[in-house]
Amino acid sequence: MSNQHMGKAVPHDSAAKHVTGQAIYIDDIVLPAGHLHGYVSMSPKAHAQITSMDLSAVRTSPGVAAVISATDVPGAIDIGPVLPGDPVLADGWVEYAGQALFAVAAGTESEARAAAKRADITYDDLDAILDIETARAQGSYIVEPYAITVGDAQAALAKSANQLSGKLAIGGQDHFYLEGQVAVAMPGEDGDMLIYSSTQHPSELQHLVAKVLGKSSKDVTVEVRRMGGAFGGKETQAAPVACQAALLATATGRVVKVRLDRDDDMMATGKRHPFHVNWRVGFDADGVLDAAAFDYLADCGYSPDLSLAILDRALFHADNGYFLKNALIRGFACKTNKVSMTAFRGFGGPQGMLGIEAVIDDIARHLGIDRLDVTKRNLYGRDGTRDATPYGQRVEDNILPELIDQLEASSDYRQRRTEITAFNASHSHLKRGLALTPLKFGISFTATFLNQAGALVHVYNDGSIQLNHGGTEMGQGLNTKVAQVVADEFGVPLDAIKITATHTGKVPNTSATAASSGTDLNGMAARDAAQTIKARLAAFAAEQLGADGENLSYADGNVLIGEKTLTFAGFVRQAYMHRISLSASGFYATPKITYDPATRQGRPFFYYAYGAAVSEVVVDALTGEHRVLRADILHDAGRSLNPALDLGQIEGGYIQGLGWLTTEELWWDGEGNLKTHAPSTYKIPAAGDLPADFRVAFFQGENREDNIGRSKAVGEPPLMLASSAFFAIRDAVASVAGNRLNPSLDTPATPEKVLMAIEDIKQRRDTEQ
C-alpha cells in the first residue's frame, strides 16, 4: 500500500461537475416519453377520523392517469422504518397536518395538483396533542419513559453543598436540503421496479418499496448517484415519495416522478426533534458536579420513526465531556400530532449536550467563576479515574483537556474576556458575550447491528478500477475518501478509479449513510475488497512469476515484484490471462462495540470525536438582534483522510448549528399547522450570517482505534460547536444584569427571544434590588 492519496486535500470527485452544472440530480434525469408526474395530497387536519373520501372528481380531472389511496396499495400500507406507525397513504385517519392522503399521477405536475384539489374528503376531528408538556401530562409516549443511571443521584443531590435547577426548551430544525425529496419509479418486466431516489438509505427504501408493492427485495432496485444535501433528512424521509411513485408506476405501468416542492416538503417531512430539558444538579464550591438529574423530553411527533435511537443518543450525550459520578438521566419520547421527527445531523446528541452545557453555564454564573474554568474542572479524567460514562463506557481517548488548553491560548480567550467585560461596562445598549464549549461525540450506530458495510471492487484487465460501496454521496465527499483508500491500496492514481452510483444490485443489505459512519465503514469495506484481490494477485505472482508474495509493493501505477517492476495494468492483464478473479466484495463490521439495551450499559461507541469552539457575539439590548463577531474552532478529525473535505464539514457544521440555535424557528399554530414552511418565514443562515472572523483548525492527533487511516468521523460533530454561540449570547444577556443572574433563554435565540430574556433579567435584577 502506498500513501499517496490518503491524507491529501484531494478535490471532491464531482467538483468539476458541481461548478459547471453538469452533475445530475434525480430531477435532471431525462425520462422516457409518456412519463407521469405524481402529486401527493396532504391532510389539513392534525388529528381526525376520515369519514369519507370521494376521489371521483380527481379521477376525471384533465390529464389524470391514476389516483390511489390506501385501499389501492397491493402490499403493506405501513412503511415505518423500525417500528410500525407510518402509513404510506392515510388509512382511515390522520395524525398530523401534512400527512399523505392519496396520490395522483398526471401528464404534468400542475395537472396532478389541480386534480388533487377536487377531492371531497370529510373528517371527524379528534383531540390533538401539539406540545411536549401536554403529551407528558396525558402520558402520550412512543415508548414508556426510561433512564440511564449511575451512582445515586438523589442521595448525592441531597448531600450537595450547592444545588441548582433549570430548564431549557430546544427548538427543532428543518433540514432545508437545497434539493427536496424526489424519486423516479420505472416499472420493468415481471413487475420489477427500478427506483432513482435521493436517499441516504437505498437498502431500506428497496425493502419498503417491495413491501408496499407486495413484492420482495429481489424485485426492486434502488440507485442513487448523489443527493443535493440530506443531513439526516433523507435517511427515512426519502421512502414515502419513492413508495408513492412506485405505487403510481405500478398502477399506470408508466414511469412516475414524485418531487415535493419546498412548502410540501417542509410540511410533510420530519425534522430535528424539539426537546425540553429539565435538570437539577448538586456541586461543590469549585463548581464540580456531585450529582445530576436530567429529564429529556423529546417531541417525537406522531410515529416512532427513529425517535427511540435519537432519544438514546440524547441521553448518551447528557454528559458531553463531563464526568458524572451520580446521574439519573431520564428520557421521555412524547407522542404528539405533528410530523414524525427524524434524524438530523447529531441525531439527538446536540440536544443532549445542550442540557449539560446550560448546567455548566448556570453553575459558573451562580458561583461567579468563568464558564471555562467550570468546564475544565468537570472534564473526564485521563489517568483511569473519573473516566466512566453513565452508560458504562470508559473514555479511553480523552483529549479534551489539551484541546481546550490549545484553543484557550490560540483564541486569546482570557484577554478577550477582560476586553469584553470592559466593553460591556462602557456600553449601555451593545453587549458582547463570549463562550467556549467543548464537544465529545460517540461514533457508531447505537444499534450495534447497523455497524456493518459492504463494497464491491472490480479491477478490469486494462488496469482501471470500478469502485462500489454501500454508502451514499450527499456532498460530504464520501466517494472521494473511499476512492483515496482504494487508490492507495493498489498504488494507482485516482483517475484510474471510477466511483459509481450506489446501487442495491451491487452491494446489498447496507446501512444508512448516517451516524457520521460513512467513511469509517465503507472505507474499511472497500479496503477489504481490494485486499482480497491483492491476496489473489500475490498468490498468482508467487506461483507464476516466482515472487515472494509478501514482497509485492504497489505504488505510482506500478507493482514491484521482487526485483521486477510491472505496470499495474500489465500485471493485472497477466493475472487475467492466468484466470485470476479480479473482482471481489468486501465487508466490515466495527469491532469492540457491545451494548445491552436492557441494562443500558456497555460500549455503544467505537471511539469518540472531540472539538471545541469559542464564539464571540454582540447583542443589541434594545432589539435583541445579534451577530457572531468571531468564532475559533479546534476540531479533532484524527489523522484527517482529506483535510479539504473535513474542513468543509467543520465550517458547514458550525454554521448549520448556528442556524438551529439562533434563526431557524419552527412554528406550529393552534391547529397543528406548521406556519414556517418556506424560506420566507424559516430563516437558514446566509453568507452574511457567517462570523466575519472565522478561524478553523484541526487538532493534531490520530485515532487511537484502528479506524480507516487513523482518521475520525467528522460529519455530525462540528454542528455542536455552535453551542458556543448560543452561550455567548446568554453571556451577553447576563451582562445586562451584572453577570450574576442566569438568563432564561430558549433556542432558537431569535431576536424576539433574546429581547424577552433581556427584559426578564432586568426585571429580576430590579426586583432583587
Binding site: A9, P11, H12, S14, A15, A16, K17, H18, V19, T20, G21, Q22, A23, I24, Y25, D27, D28, V30, S110, A114, H175, F176, Y177, L178, E179, G180, R226, M227, G228, G229, A230, F231, D261, R262, M474, G475, Q476, G477, A644, L645, L647, G648, E651, G652, G653, Y654, I655, Q656, A678, P679, S680, I684, P685, A686, A687, G688, L690, A692, F694, V696
Partner: protein, 163 residues
C-alpha cells in the same frame, strides 16, 4: 391556465423559438424545454437562489421570472458561462477550495458571484458576504465560497481573467 404564447430569445448564444404556457416560469422553461438542467429548482419562492440565471446581462431568479417575459431577451445560464470560459477562474477557485459540497446551490452561486466579479471588482470580504446573501448554501457554511470569490477577485486584479 392552458393559454400559451410564442417566445423568441437567445439562450447561451443560440436563437430559440418556443411555444410556452403563459404561466411557465423561466427556470422550468430552461430545464424542461431546453434541457439546461444546471439551473436548479430549490425553493420556488425567490429566496434560495439555486435558479439564478442572467437575463440581458443581469442576474434574476429563474423561478420568479416567467418564460413569457423573456421574449426578445438574452439569457445566459451556467452552461453558457461555462462554455464561454468567462468564469473558468471562479470555477477553478471553487474546486480548489471545496466551495461546493452537494453542489445543488453551486451553479446559482457561480452566477451570482460572476456578477459581483464584474460589478464590484474591488469587493472586500464584507461586500462578498453581502452580495452572496441572496444565495443559500446549506452545506459549506459559506466560508469556502467567500474564500473562492476572494481568490478570484485577487487573481483578476493581478492580471488576466483566467488563472
Amino acid at each position: 391556465m392552458d393559454e400559451t404564447t410564442v417566445i423568441s430569445c437567445t439562450v447561451n448564444g443560440e436563437a430559440v423559438e418556443e411555444i410556452v404556457p403563459a404561466r411557465l416560469n423561466l427556470v422550468d422553461f430552461l430545464r424542461e424545454k431546453l434541457d439546461l438542467t444546471g439551473s436548479h429548482v430549490g425553493c420556488e419562492h425567490g429566496v434560495c437562489g439555486a435558479c439564478t440565471v442572467r437575463l440581458d446581462g443581469v442576474i434574476v431568479r429563474g423561478c420568479l421570472t416567467l418564460a413569457a417575459q423573456v421574449n426578445g431577451a438574452t439569457i445566459e445560464t451556467i452552461e453558457g458561462v461555462t462554455a464561454t470560459g468567462e468564469v473558468a477562474d471562479l470555477q477553478e477557485a471553487f474546486l480548489a477550495r471545496n466551495a461546493a459540497q452537494c453542489g445543488f446551490c453551486t451553479p446559482g452561486m457561480v452566477m451570482s458571484a460572476a456578477e459581483l466579479l464584474t460589478v464590484n471588482p474591488d469587493a472586500g470580504r464584507a461586500e462578498i458576504r453581502d452580495f452572496l446573501s441572496g444565495n443559500y448554501c446549506r452545506c459549506t457554511g459559506y466560508q469556502a465560497i467567500i474564500d473562492a470569490v476572494e481568490t478570484t477577485l485577487a487573481g483578476r486584479k493581478n492580471g488576466g481573467s483566467t488563472t
